[in-house]
Symmetry: D3
Subunit: 259 residues, 6 copies
Amino acid sequence: MKVVTFGEIMLRLSTPGFSRFMQADRFDVHYGGGEANVAVSLANFGLQSAFVTRLPENELGQAAVNMLRGHGVDTSHILRGGERIGIYFLETGASQRPSKVIYDRAHSAVSAIDGREVDWDALFRDAGWFHWTGITPALGEPCRQALEMACAAARRAGVTISCDLNYRKKLWSPREAQQVMQPLMSYVDVCIANEEDAQKSLGLTISAGDVHKGQLNMEAYAETARTLKKRYGFKTVAITLRESRSASENGWSALLLDN
Amino acid sequence: MKVVTFGEIMLRLSTPGFSRFMQADRFDVHYGGGEANVAVSLANFGLQSAFVTRLPENELGQAAVNMLRGHGVDTSHILRGGERIGIYFLETGASQRPSKVIYDRAHSAVSAIDGREVDWDALFRDAGWFHWTGITPALGEPCRQALEMACAAARRAGVTISCDLNYRKKLWSPREAQQVMQPLMSYVDVCIANEEDAQKSLGLTISAGDVHKGQLNMEAYAETARTLKKRYGFKTVAITLRESRSASENGWSALLLDN
Amino acid sequence: MKVVTFGEIMLRLSTPGFSRFMQADRFDVHYGGGEANVAVSLANFGLQSAFVTRLPENELGQAAVNMLRGHGVDTSHILRGGERIGIYFLETGASQRPSKVIYDRAHSAVSAIDGREVDWDALFRDAGWFHWTGITPALGEPCRQALEMACAAARRAGVTISCDLNYRKKLWSPREAQQVMQPLMSYVDVCIANEEDAQKSLGLTISAGDVHKGQLNMEAYAETARTLKKRYGFKTVAITLRESRSASENGWSALLLDN
Amino acid sequence: MKVVTFGEIMLRLSTPGFSRFMQADRFDVHYGGGEANVAVSLANFGLQSAFVTRLPENELGQAAVNMLRGHGVDTSHILRGGERIGIYFLETGASQRPSKVIYDRAHSAVSAIDGREVDWDALFRDAGWFHWTGITPALGEPCRQALEMACAAARRAGVTISCDLNYRKKLWSPREAQQVMQPLMSYVDVCIANEEDAQKSLGLTISAGDVHKGQLNMEAYAETARTLKKRYGFKTVAITLRESRSASENGWSALLLDN
Amino acid sequence: MKVVTFGEIMLRLSTPGFSRFMQADRFDVHYGGGEANVAVSLANFGLQSAFVTRLPENELGQAAVNMLRGHGVDTSHILRGGERIGIYFLETGASQRPSKVIYDRAHSAVSAIDGREVDWDALFRDAGWFHWTGITPALGEPCRQALEMACAAARRAGVTISCDLNYRKKLWSPREAQQVMQPLMSYVDVCIANEEDAQKSLGLTISAGDVHKGQLNMEAYAETARTLKKRYGFKTVAITLRESRSASENGWSALLLDN
Amino acid sequence: MKVVTFGEIMLRLSTPGFSRFMQADRFDVHYGGGEANVAVSLANFGLQSAFVTRLPENELGQAAVNMLRGHGVDTSHILRGGERIGIYFLETGASQRPSKVIYDRAHSAVSAIDGREVDWDALFRDAGWFHWTGITPALGEPCRQALEMACAAARRAGVTISCDLNYRKKLWSPREAQQVMQPLMSYVDVCIANEEDAQKSLGLTISAGDVHKGQLNMEAYAETARTLKKRYGFKTVAITLRESRSASENGWSALLLDN
């Protein structure tokens, strides 16, 4: 099955080891993003995958394309043009010092994408699944419009649509998010969320323990899933749970509400 | 003597050794710029120097400040604020392959500087020299205005003003450059130029051999210097000459027209 | 136009900088080979290219595939199987010390290729050019047989065939080379050679100055080209000339005898 | 508030990762020391700070100065001269293998400091706090004398004086330490100590559990603080407690006995 | 006391940090092997040690020799010749991803050793201990024969012989292992084993809990030791126990059954 | 033939690439010295060699020993003890910027060597050659005395003695050098020198062109050699000539006066 994802791929510049921004005399270079990483992982696991975005026509845009196709991702629908590739700088935390991220993603090529330049129908012709996250429509109106075209085309082609709500407070407010995300839910078959996402992106409020204290209220999560399913008619709801035991240790679990 | 310089300091991200953008898995990190480098060099040689710019309030802006004051440059007049630090990416050439630069400097903090926020009179009170280059006013109207305030304050304080014309075709056209640069020449005591700068930034045309072929017509250069001095009333004109012998070998010479 | 190349791609492990094998505590990793490099370069220049080889089913084989498709080379006809990827170790020379290469390529996956497992006809259906070098048949009888199948299929498909004679004394003697290479010349349209290749691989002897002394006898080279063209009916002969000025400096020139 | 610290800043050469001295082909370079690190941290937190020491007139001394002023520390009172910068070599432990330190600090510039060359009164004029540790007087008689001049000047200027006892067995015996440290306590307002420091540097003995076993006897610590406060008239006593859970994990806590 | 060990020393190429084979652009270089590591460790602890193997006459073979003698191991009995040094590639695991090893050791120099070329009697003349592991005879008949010569010579010289059974499923089946290992036990004084080794290499079966679950049945281990001692007449049996708590944390314990 | 050399081996810490002391965040680590390098090179060329020095009992001393014996040098006569290993820091020059060296070799272990602790007679029993340089006696009286013991023992054993005068102005004045070196010449069979060495170390003055300008007066060199041979009765005199063409390019030649 071919899986299509759509979003931003950014240049990540991270300080080596635990060194700080102000000490670093080199940055490690990676290209990635939520939706691009899904495409790469699925290709590594042996599935066919395609990634759609817009990248500048310079060597940094090409480097992102090369990374993707090196992993076997179909990059033939990526648009080229625009001003720059989005960048974020990462400093890994240590003991009490938390990790820091500096975003420098404004004016990126994908934020000015014209969705009409992508041949969505051709893209979904042999696809079985379309995956996107809440980051994509948060990048601005051009991305939101392109995403809606993608969803409509995916529905026409009968492919399953999954969405990871993935609320990002640096990109928009809960109010802005809900205005954009709620209408888009009508396209979604599989919804991936956690409690905060459901609250900020869709306005759902259910008390579910204190996540920061690592205490998970399973019943509240199940109730969140049931409510989401009922309100938006999702076929499947997946809730991922991360316990923060310490800066370098997390517990992972997940809850799947299927038909 | 304290020397003041004003301009943009950028984050330079360069591929290690001769590796290409598309191969690099890390970038070497430096902070620099024409005017900042002059301030650092003079401090290394034992003079007092101060650098004026505007940098974002994040750690990358702070890293640039720390680099400067580490070398002993006075950074107390640097403004903090704005969106981002300008970036450029550098890939060093090898044999027939030329070096490549990708600029990502639009929307930088300094490009939106408000010159009224700098206390120019305090800055020049104990200064003997003010140095700027043609890059600074090419960064846009806010920079041009700030530069004019700086020149006016420097003149009021009686400090010598030097300008390296430094024409950059990626930033403006000759026509735009001349409209901005010609009026600013009235402030300049010492003008640093090469033939191309004089032509593109000030509209001066004197034939001086084929620089690309490494052939230098000394008399034509001397004539350029005399014409510049006469037309703009400079006290001193310095012309720097670089012969391109090969990708990794250059010949350097210079001509000084004083008095 | 799509260009197909066929040969071995090896893991190159080189000491960093000018360090010696006995000092190195790390090796730089690259994947390459004469024919693979041509496919990568053509893809970088914007042509379509495909590379055929056999690689083991482990991660090192996959890394070679990923590098190729990252550059846009079609790897869909690469066979997977066999014992190991060929390796060579490289130590770069400095001043009087020459570079050293340790080959560890015996028993490589491609050396046991079964040419019948490649669908040559499908491969050449939309191709315009097939390129190989004298290294491929020197890897042993299975490679020679596969190469002959490739040449026959290319001819059936009407694609141009080019061969870089590329004599390698570590792989075979001149006598062995000539027995294999001479019959294969009947498939070749474009022959790339230098004086030594023509002599060792095809038995041609024409005096052409002392290459080691950097003195090039142009007329002798032209005579070599004319003789090759006449004897084997090549459409085109290209002779590449490298002058060894010093360990780190070479002069490059070339001679093309076209129709 | 400006904080002044006085002590030795050393060149730290550490093996990368967990590699051992005998394997390392490079050392990571840092400049630091107990008192210098306090000055740097306070500057990072936004306070004004100044550091006093003596460094050789070579580039290694200058590199230490540049590091300090890069972080915003006032280095204008640092003396230059003497033979060498103190060095220590560090190999980080792993699993059962403990970390190792090789000190090479004898004959360092600061160990021959002439305290009369520092203008202590000017230094403390606008300062609010003076911090030193038990390492400084342990570096020999010149350092002890300079420290006493510093304490006297600080008292004259009415600045608060804090001392971290910081007993170092590689530098002196408990008996030597007590002869030097006890008289200096008359200058101290704020004393920072742990049980071992109080015992070795000041001769105080109070049983407080087995620190190596990570068992902390809170009452004994409180008694230590009360006894120190009473005996030396400190305004404040701070006791820092480190539990050694394993080679890479520690528990930190602290106890403050204030007025 | 001089300790002699005999086996294969390989070139280990490992990806830096936690990077994967497909991402690595360099490999860290080490030379090691079970028996070589014992010789190096004993030399580090101050004993005399000698290592016997066969290495190719190239620089990689020499680098292995240099590493050994750098640590003080006697390498004067190492044979030189053969095709290649055995290689293995290592990728260190992280969280759920396990470590991966790719062996490329076929056709190594030592696998074709002729035991008659080693002067075993001279080697053991001043030795007190001979140590080998089950890896050595698993490398093929030439190694098995050389090992038997070594054991016979060691016995003639009256030196203690220890064997770490060390069953490796990538090298042979339990059946092949038992046919070779059982007869060799007659030479062994000190046997080092774990439960799996005893079962696979010698055919011993005693239930001893589920090692993978980290549960150790001490009594079953003691019984294994007693049975081994009785069946083969060992003077001493050592059983090493490793509990796998997680990918990066192990518990180590051991059991010694001595006279 | 076994060659013995005696001198200091130092820890060299060099900045990577062309980076400056003040920029370097790591130093490359090497162990070497004039006499140690001769021993290593001869061992690499297949001769037997032994090196005598004194090194501290810490891991840095051991690392130097390991490096030497890794290359096959006999280190069994090296004394262990003393305060520290001598260090020098190296910054490689680039274009107009010259290389810089910071010596930190005072108080090194070898500078306090007691020559009576070396069993010189045993050392020279099977040796054919003893080599030393003018650096060794310049390290102070203990080294001078040890060197004289070495020369006397070498003469008793009938081994050839060579000396590279190697005048170092950072270690002593010409006057000091001549007082020490002239008497030692009575032991020397083979003298290696250049014009400056002969002048500074032995007081010989013969005009021989301007070496800095790269102009070599061959006849003056020959005269230097003849004079040295006559005055001190050397069997052989070797003069090495280095022309400084530029910072990174030198011309090498040599003159041998034998018999």
